[in-house]
């Protein structure tokens, strides 16, 4: 066990954890942010995606010690009022069904749009390939990413 500091959504949390514990469980069980989901535990489904220093990573496969003192963003950190363009687009296009995988999908889409503000279909495929949706919302995810891109252009923001 070790005392570690996690910087999540611009807030510092000091936790006592086994350094080998995956970041996912530290975020969910020790910090108490449950928006980040467990889906497979082996980086195959993308449900646990968070941003580590701005890059999307699979929190189920990163030891918590490797994320200590780094900037982590989870779904809860996008906005507190669903005002982020990706969240807005997800609602406009009515993407979620069960909704379980959507935190990960949204975190991946947000990172994509930061990198490529107007992604084409191929860019979307590449960025979203690691994310499984068992409800089959893929067609709407594609649409929503394009809608989010437009919303961002309108706002002149790539938050």
């Amino acid at each position: 066990m070790a005392a570690l500091t996690l910087k999540i959504n611009n807030q510092s949390h000091t936790i006592e954890a086994d350094p080998k514990m995956p970041l996912l469980w530290a975020i969910r069980d020790l910090v108490g942010l449950t928006g980040t989901k467990y889906g497979c535990g082996i980086a195959q489904c993308g449900a646990c995606t968070v941003h580590l220093e701005g890059t999307p990573v699979r929190s189920c496969s990163i030891p918590v010690s490797a994320a200590a003192n780094k900037n982590i963003t989870t779904i809860e950190g996008l906005s507190n009022d669903n005002s982020h363009p990706v969240q807005q687009a997800w609602i406009l296009e009515q993407v979620p069904q069960c909704g379980y995988c959507q935190s990960g999908q949204i975190m991946a889409a947000t990172a994509l749009l930061k990198r490529i503000p107007s992604p084409n279909d191929k860019d979307i495929d590449t960025a979203m390939l690691g994310h499984i949706c068992r409800c089959g919302t893929y067609p709407r995810i594609r649409k929503a990413i394009k809608t989010a891109s437009q919303l961002m252009t309108q706002k002149g923001s790539t938050k």
Binding site: K37, G39, R134
Partner: protein, 720 residues
């Protein structure tokens, strides 16, 4: 029935509605089977039945609270139920607050969220209930104003007096309305006048699902809650011979290690639970656990053995279910005789949220929270096993991260309850992805043996034999000789008239593999066999597959669906290098036709260009949810057709996680266009019926393009 509202005393009413002010609360009382549901108001405390019936409650601020008695697993009951109620109640959806009902069969009727039944099973009662509340509010206003009730109408949460324009909000009327009797006769709106129903209104649950605040089973926490993971017998019927927990107990945080049973269709399957104060510790403790299993008492099956057996039995004697005329004699005399076998694999549900359940059992009561499709079943199962009265067992539904049939089952709450009882503390049992994928219950593997005779280009005789496990006879002592009436699931009803001689039956397979409903159940496999076979018959008859179906489906409803399918897909104007395939199936009272277009890509490989779906589900609520459900059904079918299957080797499940049980990904999804038929038929299901036609439409399209007939699933699209 005695009008129950007579028994309400004002004091009790307020107490029961749980509010400090007055409220109008209306519920459905479900009398003996076959009788119409009664609309009632809360009962006095000494008559607890009625308070439990509550569905709609309007408080003095005009806020409406609706109890959603069904699970929300993505299919949209969370939106559909309020949308139905808001229409006849004349309120804005934003005025409506939704809470999940707890398990209670007597209160809500069946809550088993399966068979695409939420809307089709309850919409008429919901419409009547909300219209009753509206009429009582109008009556209360008319009395207050001392005007004729017919001069008043309700709109947007208020009652308006037409001649003068004066109005009163529902909140101001609930107290007076609560003293009135529900009206005897209710006239429901003409669908043409709907303002909320049939509109693509955004789902109420989505804001929570894009910011991480929606609470799924795994997100639920209780003070002092422990976490458990269970090492379950890797072979289904294995028994715990012994276990060594020396190393497990050394893991910091691990508190208990105990043997636990799981009730799977009354078969007690065994496991060893590791309980810790955090999940990671429980997982680490489990890794260190050594369990010795006794699995000598049963055969260790493999996929090859199972299918070999099914192929054999599908050729032989069957248990007959539905027959007409004389199949054998007609078949023998037919001008053309066609015979084919089709095979569909075992499949895992693999919901994105792995199974989990939180339980708190004490000597006096049991409380359950989790992603649950059938709260009422769990209530009665646990009441019996824990020997607690029904009212002491409370089952709460969280949001479900997928269900697809798997979460309609009582085994995982049972297991959680037993652990909680043993350790005398609240516990959350978490299944890892591997646990979830390997334990089943699975969709059963199936082999179909189809035979048909053609005379003058028409089907004169049709026979289908289905070999595979019967989901209905897995309990110890179950009748193994009964027929499986699911053998005709998915087949369009008019075919039973147009096939003059037919025979349907099954040859059940005995196996310890637990099997269960998987989205659209038997239709998901029957549909592939029957709609592929019909395509083969059309080709043999020298007919266009769509025309051939039209010729055998003369009812107007079906003719209309086929014409629509033909029109939207451009079936008649297909280009030379395109392959087109069609399939139409019917299940849960909805008919769905799908056309798939395929072509060869630049690399020479077959690619899916587009899917057109036409859904006829009769009376409906929300067109956008229907479209979403059909899209999702098609994607799920695509996975089962071309990506994944569960195999067994030496009695063990082979595929354990998404690195071997492969899912369709975003780059593999074709364009999908969904059309909804407008008619006045009864409401049919929405969550499942879009699934069965996709796979045969795809393989029929591949045949059209390449001449290659696919009869075994799954197949690799890359290798066609």
């Amino acid at each position: 029935m005695e009008p129950l509202s007579k028994n309400i005393s004002r004091r009790n009413f307020i107490k029961l509605s749980g509010m400090t002010g007055a409220a109008l609360t209306l519920g459905l009382h479900l009398p003996a089977q076959g009788k119409e549901a009664e609309i009632v108001k809360p009962l006095a405390a000494d008559l607890p039945g009625l308070e439990l019936n509550a569905w709609i409650s309007i408080d003095t601020t005009g806020k409406v609270t609706i109890t959603n008695h069904r699970a929300e697993m993505g299919q949209g009951s969370y939106q559909a139920v309020p949308q139905i109620i808001a229409e006849e109640l004349e309120v804005d959806l934003n005025q409506v607050n939704i809470v999940f009902g707890v398990g209670n069969n007597e209160k809500y009727g069946s809550q088993v969220t399966g068979g695409s039944s939420t809307v089709r099973g309850s919409y008429k009662n919901l419409l009547r209930l909300s219209a009753s509340a509206r009429e009582m509010l109008i009556e209360a206003a008319a009395k207050k104003w001392n005007v004729n009730q017919s001069e008043c109408y309700a709109e947007n949460g208020q009652v308006i007096h037409k001649p003068t324009g004066k109005n009163l909000g529902y909140g101001e009327l609930v107290e007076a309305a609560s003293k009135l009797e529900p009206p005897k006769n209710i006239t429901l709106k003409n669908p043409k006048d709907y303002k909320i129903l049939r509109k693509p209104l955004p789902r109420q649950d989505n804001p929570q699902k894009v910011n991480g605040t929606a609470i799924f089973g795994l997100d639920f926490k209780l003070p002092g809650m422990m976490y458990a993971v269970v090492e379950r017998s890797p072979r289904f019927a294995g028994k715990v011979k012994s276990f060594d927990d020396t190393e497990t107990k050394k893991v910091p945080g691990v508190k208990y290690v105990l043997k636990v049973n799981r009730d799977v269709f009354n078969n007690m399957l065994e496991g060893v639970a590791v309980v810790a104060d955090n999940l990671w510790a429980a997982m680490q403790g489990r890794k260190a656990l050594r369990v010795e299993w006794d699995d000598t008492a049963f055969a260790h099956h493999s996929t090859e053995d199972l299918f070999e057996k099914m192929r054999e039995t599908a050729k032989g004697e069957i248990i007959s279910y539905r027959t007409k005329g004389n199949f054998s004699a007609t078949f023998e005399k037919a001008e053309k005789k066609i015979e084919a076998f089709y095979e569909t694999p075992y499949e895992s549900h693999s919901c994105m949220e792995p199974l989990n359940c939180t339980a708190h059992v004490t000597d006096e009561k049991c409380e359950i929270w989790g992603p649950i499709q059938a709260p009422d079943w769990i209530q009665s199962n646990l009441s019996a096993h824990l020997k607690l009265p029904m009212e002491k067992v409370t089952v709460h539904m969280t949001f479900l991260g997928g269900g697809f049939g798997r979460k309609a089952f009582t085994d995982y709450p049972y297991e959680a309850a037993m652990i909680s009882k043993e350790i005398k503390a609240p516990v959350q049992v978490v299944w890892t992805r591997e646990d979830d994928m390997t334990a089943g219950p699975f969709r059963p593997g199936m082999v179909y043996h189809c035979k048909a005779g053609l005379n003058n280009g028409r089907i004169s005789a049709f026979e289908a034999k289905m070999a595979g496990q019967n989901m209905g006879s897995q309990e110890p002592g179950a009748d193994k000789k009964g027929y499986n009436d699911s053998v005709t699931e998915g087949l369009l009803e008019p075919y039973f008239n147009s096939f003059p001689h037919h025979s349907f039956g099954d040859a059940p397979l005995e196996s310890p593999i637990p099997v269960m409903w998987w989205r659209s159940v038997y239709a998901s496999t029957n549909g592939f066999a029957y709609e592929s076979f019909l395509d083969e018959l059309a080709i043999e008859a020298g007919k266009d597959p769509l025309d051939f179906r039209k010729q055998h489906l003369w009812e107007e409803r079906y003719q209309h669906l086929i014409s629509k399918l033909e029109e939207v897909s451009g079936w008649k104007s297909k280009k030379k290098n395109d392959g087109y395939g069609v399939a139409i199936t019917e299940c849960f009272s909805s008919i769905v036709g799908e056309v798939v277009k395929v072509s060869k890509g630049v690399n020479g490989k077959v690619k899916i260009d587009k899917v057109w779906a036409v859904m006829d589900c009769g009376w409906y609520v929300n067109p956008d949810i229907i479209k979403a459900q059909v899209e999702g059904s098609i994607v799920m079918a695509l996975g089962a057709a071309t990506k994944h299957a569960t195999h067994f080797k030496d009695g063990l499940s082979v595929e354990k996680n998404f690195n071997s049980y492969l899912m369709p990904r975003i780059n593999e999804i074709p364009e999908i266009e969904v059309h909804i038929i407008e008619n006045e038929e009864k409401a049919g299901g929405v969550g499942e019926p879009g699934l069965p036609p996709f796979t045969p439409a795809l393989t029929n399209a591949i045949f059209d393009l390449t001449g290659k007939r696919i009869r075994v699933l799954p197949f690799n699209l890359e290798e066609v």
